[in-house]
């Protein structure tokens, strides 16, 4: 047992840190520092820089462009990236559809899609949820009827993040309406340019456009774009959602927010005392730091344990990470909100998007604080809500 990093891991951390310091374009760094929203181009160009270095998909097998870093280094890499702070590579691509294709795709699919997924030539979105199927995903109804070499898809998806940017969707559809819910689902890759697909934006409470409704009206999808077997999609989806959960703790992102809160609190004066020096602020922040440290170590334990599990099998403790990780992300945004106080009140979308031509009302960082707080409420809803995580833990860890 040793909690410290080995010299090799430390050297690796320094190498990664130096890379982020030099390779991350200044304008993108500035946006992530301030918490401004990134454009599609920002995300794409950063992922391509990573990919050129061979680091866009480090956790994939080397054969498909990954590295052989192993879990600890992968973890260090992700944390350093969040602390840089650099944008996350598109998780739909690198953590979701990529690993599914690697595990279950045909050779032809792997050869075609994986390089494009890694380089973000294809931007994927996730078409799982439907108006009537959220937490109860298996009740989804969007149908795919086989017609020759095509599936004909009809129905509606909802909450589809970034569908308005996407070139492709990985999608769950019902191919056997008579089977029991989990048994009749198929996993398809759908070109978003397919005729019959309509994307409608749904603005969120942070005033932004994150997610969408997607409608399918006789959209024809070649059978060749099916991943794995017909009616076995649920297995692949479960595999994918397990992957989604481990990445979702975002310890580095919470650490970065805490760093920010401490830094900004130095500039806020309560009378003659900076907020950062008041006992109540310091203790509140310390309290979150303790929980973050605990979560970090829990995450390391899950990460190290993953080596011992058969491939594709998820550690049920990953639900602990999702649960606590989302709560701490929210706690960190709450602290930032309290630090900003009245400076967070003005609604300034152009400053959030970095397209403003006028001076902001209040400090430069003000416009980002409340939207970040509002949007982060979603962290306990998406990726399997925290209530669902508790159900999973109760059932799988506690046998209740």
């Amino acid at each position: 047992m040793d909690l410290r990093f080995t010299p090799d891991e430390l050297a690796f951390r320094d190498e990664v840190r130096t890379f982020f310091r030099t390779a991350l374009p200044a304008d993108i760094r500035r946006k992530t520092e301030l918490g401004q929203r990134l454009s599609k181009e920002d995300t794409v160009s950063w992922q391509r820089i990573l990919n050129a270095k061979g680091w866009a998909v480090p956790h994939w097998p080397a054969e498909w462009g990954g590295t052989d870093w192993g879990p600890v280094k992968n973890y260090v890499f992700r944390e350093e990236m969040q602390l840089a702070p650099a944008p996350d590579p598109l998780s739909f691509n690198v953590s979701m559809v990529g690993p599914v294709l690697i595990a279950f795709g045909t050779d032809a699919q792997k050869r075609h899609f994986l390089p494009r997924v890694a380089n973000l030539d294809y931007w994927f979105c996730q078409g799982f949820s439907e108006p009537g199927a959220g937490s109860d995903l298996a009740s989804l109804r969007t149908s795919a009827r086989r017609e020759g070499d095509d599936y004909v898809v009809n129905g509606q998806k909802i909450w589809t993040s970034r569908a308005h940017h996407a070139d492709w969707m990985f999608c769950l559809v019902r191919t056997d309406p008579k089977a029991k819910p989990q048994a009749g689902i198929t996993y398809l890759l759908i070109d978003m340019k397919t005729p019959g697909i309509t994307v409608r934006p749904i603005p969120t409470i942070d005033g932004e456009h994150h997610f969408n409704e997607v409608f399918f009206d006789d959209a024809r999808v070649p059978v060749a774009n099916r991943v794995g077997e017909e009616n076995k999609g649920w297995t692949y989806a479960k595999f994918l959602l397990g992957n989604e959960r481990t990445g979702i703790a975002r310890v580095g992102a919470s650490k970065y927010r805490i760093q920010r809160a401490k830094e900004l609190a130095r500039t806020i004066m309560l009378g003659a005392t900076p907020l950062a020096e008041t006992p109540r602020f310091r203790e509140k922040v310390a309290d979150i730091e303790v929980q973050l440290k605990a979560l970090e170590i829990t995450q390391m334990r899950v990460v190290c344990n993953a080596r011992k599990l058969p491939p594709g099998v998820q550690d049920p403790a990953s639900s602990v990470l999702k649960l606590k990780g989302s709560e701490l992300q929210q706690a960190a945004t709450e602290i930032l909100m309290e630090v900003a106080g009245p400076d967070a009140l003005a609604l300034q979308p152009e400053h959030l998007w970095g397209t403003a031509t006028d001076e902001p009302i209040g400090p430069e960082w003000g416009p980002m604080i409340a939207p970040d707080y509002f949007y982060t409420r979603a962290a306990s809803i998406y990726g399997g809500s925290n209530e669902i995580q508790r159900n999973v833990i109760a059932k799988r860890l506690l046998g209740l």
């Binding site: 749904i202 969120t204 409470i205 909100m337 309290e338 009140l345 409340a370 409420r377 979603a378 809803i381």
Partner: protein, 383 residues
């Protein structure tokens, strides 16, 4: 002890609640948001007709002599509807300041115009650096042959962009955070040297940044005894906090009801999600927080007219702490229990959450009031 409303108070409650139910549906609210001032002028006239705008003023000033309970009744209904009109800015804050610090002439001139809806007013008090310190005033007023000259900048002036009249606090002597030396002035919003930059706030309301460059003020437009405004300022802030407590309770009750309704209708796994015990308990905890908040809003209402300023301030701080704790919990849980739809701008629950969030920053955050209360010795004296 008696928590019952009088016959008249119940009639007031009925009529305001009916108005909000009929005229402040969520879709209607969206329309008001798009109006030029960011609220409904039409409803403002309706409030005047119903006597709401003069509620706290004396009858000779066009009012109905209402007290803190009447204000609570109105604000609670406004909270339910997430109303957008400048009632807090014009009636509670500006009206309150004019009542407390205004001369008889100022009262006679301005209060009837507020009451009949023809005058909108806003309190230009907080500044970029002042945060929650009510005595932190850098804006300056210096003597001039005909009166005063104002210079400085005010930030986050609630509804400052639509106001006809501003009540500006400025320092006439002392250091930036001194209690002594603050004065209040009546300033026409379009007076020379006044510049306003209006903006929307996160919760859908309006505010303005205001700069004052050499604004000349006639002597008769000073309010009260120049330099001695601190206690009036504190009292009006307390009135605002009591009113906000009532507003928050109305909003919490509506958010809670909406959520319980959703739990009864939304189906997942073949059953209504309200049948999951985990969610039932959450809805129960929200109710507990709501009842705690309601009690403290009543406490604030009953203590806001307390003559002992120290006791009053403790009570208001205590109420504020509870209100914010409850508001945050109820707002966050309401979004959570709605799932994805709770995150959307097109659905009302998120707007309650945003209003609670914004309210947490008005007239002192939770930590500010906790510290003030602790400093004052808390609510329970040692044995």
């Amino acid at each position: 002890m008696d928590f019952d409303l009088s016959e008249e108070q119940r009639m007031l409650e009925d009529s305001v609640e009916r108005l909000i139910a009929e005229r402040y549906g969520f879709e209607q609210r969206k329309k008001y948001l798009k109006e030029e001032a960011g609220f409904s002028r039409d409803l403002w006239r309706r409030y005047a007709e119903m006597g709401l705008l003069g509620l706290p003023f004396e009858e000779r000033h066009g009012g109905s002599n209402g007290g803190a309970i009447e204000t609570m009744i109105v604000m609670e209904a406004f909270g339910r509807g997430l109303t957008l009109e400048p009632y807090l800015a014009t009636v509670i804050l500006s009206g309150g300041l004019i009542q407390l610090a205004g001369s008889e002439a100022q009262r006679a001139e301005l209060l009837p115009r507020i009451a009949d809806g023809s005058l909108l007013a806003a309190w230009a008090h907080s500044e970029a650096q002042s945060r929650y310190d009510l005595c932190d005033v850098a804006c300056s007023a210096r003597r001039d042959a005909d009166g005063w000259i104002l210079d400085g900048a005010k930030s986050h002036v609630m509804h400052g962009d639509s106001a006809d009249k501003l009540i500006v606090s400025a320092r006439i002597s002392g250091e930036r955070r001194d209690r002594d030396g603050i004065a209040l002035f009546l300033v026409d919003a379009d007076a020379p040297g006044v510049e306003r930059r209006g903006y929307g706030t996160q919760d859908g309301l309006r505010a303005a940044q205001i700069t004052l460059s050499g604004v000349p003020i006639a002597s008769r437009d000073a309010m009260g005894e120049p330099g001695k405004a601190a206690s009036v300022i504190e009292r009006v802030a307390d009135c605002a906090l009591a009113a906000l407590a009532a507003e928050a309770v109305g909003a919490m009750a509506a958010a809670h009801e909406t959520t319980v309704e959703y739990l009864k209708t939304r189906k997942q796994f073949g059953v209504t999600i309200g049948s999951f015990q985990a969610l039932q308990h959450r809805a129960v905890d929200m109710l507990v927080e709501l009842e705690q908040a309601r009690s403290m809003a009543l406490f604030a209402t009953m203590m806001v007219e307390e003559p002992d300023a120290a006791e009053r301030r403790k009570a208001i701080s205590a109420a504020t702490v509870q209100i914010r704790r409850s508001g945050r919990y109820i707002g966050q849980q309401a979004v959570q229990l709605h799932g994805g739809i709770g995150m959307t701008l097109e659905y009302k629950i998120g707007h309650y959450f945003k209003r609670f969030t914004a309210m947490e920053t008005l007239f002192g955050d939770t930590d500010h009031h906790l510290a003030a209360l602790a400093e004052a010795g808390g609510l329970i004296a040692p044995a």
